[in-house]
Structure formats: C-alpha cells, structure tokens
Symmetry: C2
Subunit: 344 residues, 2 copies
C-alpha cells in the first residue's frame, strides 16, 4: 500500500531539526511511504542533502516561508497565515495529494485549520482530540483531550462512538470497553453532564462499562475513556506533571551523594526499562477525530523518536481508513443517536 503523508516540518518546539530526521527515519522503515515535507526549503535542504537517491525519490519538499508559531492566535493561523506550513499540509489532505497530515504545531490552530479545510463529518457535531495513554495493563484511548469545552451529552456520546471505532481498528480489540470519566467522592455522583451522558451511553449499544475515576484511567479499567475536553486536558496534563516530577525526584535522589550516584549508575538497566515503558514517544501522536481527513498532532516538545511515532500513528490510521470507518459506522441506523440525544 503506497501512502503519502504531509508533514508540517515547521511545527513544534524544535522545528525541522526534529521533524526532518524523524521523517527520514520513518521513510527508511516503511518502503511504501512517501512524504511531503512542507516548510522552509532553506531549513529542510541541508537536512536531506545526504540521503540516498531511493529515499530522496520518496520525498517532496513543498516550500513555504510562513509558519504558525506556538503563540499565534487561532484567528491568525486561520485568517492571516494562509500559506503557513500547517495550512498547506492540511490542504494537501483535502486536495488528495496526501492521505494524512502530521503537525507538532499549536493544537488550537491545527484543530481550527483542519475543521475549516477538511470539514467536520456530517454525523459529528464537533471533532475531538484522542490519544493513547499508558496503563498498568497496556494503554487506553482517551477523548476529548482539549478541543471542546462545555460539551453536551450527545457530543460525549459521539466521542464514545468514534473512540470505540478507532480503538477497535487500531488495536484489533473487538467491542472495546468504554468508560465515562467521573468522580466518586461527591454526595450525588457526577454533574448533570455526566448523568445525562451515562444514560445515553447505556442505550448506545457500545460495550459501556459505566464510570471510571481518575486513577482508573491508569489501572486499565477501559480501552476507551470519554470526557469533556476541559476535564480530559486537565487529567492529561496533571498526569504528565506528576510523571515529570517523579522522574525529577529520581534524578535528585541519584545526585544526592557519591554513593547514590554510583548506585544510580549501577541501576542503569532498571532506568532503561522504566524509560522504555514510560517513554512519551511510545504514545506520541494524538488524532483529531471526526474530520473529513486524517490529522495527527504531535506533542510540541517531541524529539525525533517521538515525532516518528506520530508519523507511524498517521500511517496506521490511513491503513485502517479511520475517517471512512467513522463515516460508514456513524451513518448506520444501529448507532443513530439523534432521537435519544434530542430528548435530553
């Protein structure tokens, strides 16, 4: 299967220095892959000058001098920077030059540009950001991670339906368990959004297992966890914050004394194993689901190994035809949700 991806090489904290080597790495791994490297050719040129002719033949540089910065407002990305590397990469998907696009740029801008250019699928109210997180037993797909605040129950139901389809396609898990993120401490469980969504999910035909609490995310209680984007983003970032704090504490303990430095050096195989399991690179690549095309968002701070992982996620989504799957399944009468949703 020949697949072409459009890569916004200017996005992220490190730009081409990370995105181009990552692109070359994935191109080497996958003989059927072709890449459009969208960005400043003066920056890209030197990074691809020494590649083999075979590799070079599967690479095309699409030059533009404009790019979206991390601080750019969404409106700037959308209305002013119409020749940005991000915009041209998404355009390439719309125009059929690429099957998917990958960017490490500003999430809000990428979502807005993607919605504008690729459009939201007619059966979906709002696209969502979906990513895999490590758990004690494997991984979990969680959505929405920040595209939508103040979601409504029928929108959370749509997230659940998309999440289940994508998890099933990517992992080969039949009828993945779907959980609704909730709290267990308050007098009356959950807020209004949660209670109404719970009812919709119970009637949805999905393999809905009910509520999952914050710690349940990482215990592997479900394959798909659904939540409003505000809550999902807080959960994701809080988790990243704790993981970084713990890694920093381990480093601090090792640095505390000469003895600890020696012991820390001796324990290297343990750190390596831990780093392998916790490696954010293993889980880089969030999907913008619900659009008329495949867009994968890399973490802005991704290194080359992590950005390469985001490219692999995009390839897998192309192979599984995620947008086609969502379009087919969500137009199917069995999962037609509007009558239920409109009652609430």
């Amino acid at each position: 299967m020949r697949i072409t991806l459009a890569v916004d090489v200017m996005g992220g904290d490190h730009g081409p220095a990370v995105t181009v080597p990552a692109s070359l790495q994935v191109l080497r791994e996958n003989q059927g892959l072709q890449l459009l490297l969208v960005g400043d050719e003066a920056a890209i040129g030197p990074l691809i000058a020494r590649v083999s002719p075979e590799l070079r033949s599967r690479l095309q540089v699409v030059h533009t001098a404009e790019f979206v910065t991390m601080d750019d407002k969404v409106s700037t990305a959308l209305r002013i920077k119409k020749q940005s590397s991000m915009r041209l990469a998404v355009n390439a998907v719309r125009d059929g030059q690429a099957k998917a696009c990958v960017s490490a740029g500003n999430t809000g801008a990428l979502m807005a540009v993607s919605r504008f250019v690729l459009k939201t699928h007619p059966a979906i109210d709002r696209p969502a950001i979906m990513a895999a997180l490590p758990t004690q037993t494997g991984h979990v797909h969680m959505l929405d991670l920040g595209a939508n605040v103040d979601s409504e129950p029928h929108q959370l139901l749509q997230f659940a339906q998309m999440g289940a389809l994508v998890a099933e396609a990517l992992d080969g898990h039949a009828r993945p368990r779907v959980g609704l993120l909730n709290i267990g401490e308050e007098e009356i469980k959950g807020n209004e959004l949660i209670k109404q969504t719970h009812e919709l999910l119970r009637q949805s035909g999905l393999n809905y297992i009910g509520y999952v609490e914050g710690d349940g995310i990482f215990r592997g209680e479900a394959e798909v966890i659904v939540c409003d984007g505000f809550v999902g983003n807080i959960a994701l970032k809080s988790s990243e914050g704790v993981a970084k704090m713990m890694a920093g504490m381990i480093r601090k303990q090792i640095g505390r004394s000469l003895l600890n430095r020696v012991l820390g050096a001796l324990a290297l195989p343990i750190w390596r194993g831990l780093r392998h399991e916790m490696d954010p690179g293993r889980y880089n690549g969030a999907s913008l689901v619900g659009l008329g095309g495949i867009v994968v968002k890399s973490h802005g701070s991704a290194d080359a190994a992590s950005f390469a992982q985001a490219l692999r996620v995009a390839v897998l989504e192309v192979e599984k035809d995620i947008p086609g799957l969502i379009a087919r399944e969500l137009s199917h009468p069995m999962v037609e949700v509007s009558p239920v949703a409109s009652e609430t």
Copy 2:
C-alpha cells in the same frame, strides 16, 4: 496549649488496626494532646490495653457499635446511622468536647454529616475539600477536590479566599500565589465558569497569578490552586493513578531478572529517598474548609503513619484556629464579594 481531638476510629479500609496505633503515636509525640477514640470499645480495648498510665490518662474511649461503611449512601449516614462513630466524632466538635475531628471514612458522608452538624459558615456558600499535594518545589494547596460539582464563579472565589487564608496560616507564607486551574489548548481559553471566575479573582485583592495548567500544579507555580470539585477530583485521582503506575513499573523492572533484583537491592537508598519525597503519608489529611468547626479527612487506605499525619494536620488547624480565621477574614469588608458575584 491543650487540645482534644475526636477520632472516628472505625473509618477507612483498616479501621481500628490503623487508626488506634496512629492515635497512640501522635499522643506520644504531643504532650498537650488528648484524644476521644470514638468506636467499638471491644475493638479498641485490646489495642490500648498496654499503654502507659500517662498516655491512658489522655485517652477517652467513646463507645458506639454503629459505623458508616465506605458503601453507605450519604442519606444512610445522615438520616439512619445517627449513632455512628463518624457522627459522634463530629458531634463532639459541635458540643465543645473536641476542637477537631478526624475520619478516614466515606468522604461524601463525612462532608454531609459535617455540614449538617457543624453548619456552613454564613459567609460561605459551600464548604470545600482542600489538601496539600507535593510539587517540584514544595507543596501546593488545592481545592475543591470533590465536594462540589457545577460550582459557580463566586463559589470558586470563596474557595480561593479560604485557600489563601489556610495556606498563609499553615505555611506562614504571606500572600500566597493563587492560580486558577485551566487548559491552554482549546481555541478560546477555558469554559464560561473559568472566564467569569478569572474576572472575580482579578478584582479580589488576592495575590492572583492567573491560569495554571494541569502540569503547572506539580511544577509549583502557585501555593493555592482553585478549581471546581469535579475537575479537582479528576486531577487528584489521575495524579495518584500515574504515581502508582510508575511505582509499579519500577517494581516490575526490578523483578524482571536476577541482575535487576540485585541492582534494585543495591539502589535501596535511592528508593528510600524517593519514597520519603513521594510518601502519601507526608500529605495525608484533607481539610473540609468553610464549616463551623475543624474536620480532617484521611485517605481511606491510609496506613498508621499516614493516619498519624492527618491527626497532625488537625492539631495544626486547631492551633491556627482556621474556622475563626475564615470567619473573621471573610466578614471583613475588603473581601466582601457579594456585589461582584451577583453581577455575573
């Protein structure tokens, strides 16, 4: 200063086997402390049979055979189990027999019983759950952690005011930095609740530093972080979940091979230091703030060292007279908030 605490010894996953030894430990540390151990005297008796006469003289057992289970509904705790150890411990605070009460029982039940018995302070709409979490630079006080869902902006402002007062009293930090938990990824920052609360906080006279994202909690960006209870509980539990997952991964790496087991044993000083820094026991003891008395909630799964920490938090809050402080400061015209709040 002579202080009496009422201890619900029946609460938590382990009951008297944990709460009684923890009580004796804190009693030994603090010569001015007296304790009411509220619970089944048949269970308590053997655990205090061998204590010294001096210690025994500062202990009083308040017998009751009834207790609130983790699965009890709030309504059961409130309306049926009127002789529960939890209820009698809170009653002791109301009746002046104790200055504070500590329980590891069901959070929802404890909050409901405390509100019913001790009443909410007149200047406060709703009490909140507040706890200290470790950060890269020390710790942060966060509230609400699950008592209130669907909070309104003026209620979040009250949480901020109470949080700042408590942080200042407990840590001796003048004008602690107050942050509002928010996300940075969406097109228009935050939801409606956040935007309105942001304005109230800007006008509050507090040392308000603006938005803090999920990972900022653990970077130590603020001394006080304010959020709705739904979001706060998800952030707290997600963080606990990641920390447990990482600890499990370290154990798994150490157990993987004979070499790793040997290296893991050698690295013991590093684990000990890490455990000390991450020790949930160092941070056990959440405060129910905004009530007419001091109630401290221990983690249900606390061991004796952790439960002892919750008792120490209660002693400190008595010494600082937290409810009196909140009553005095929140009746002060400088922080009178109703006119602003009612405009929103």
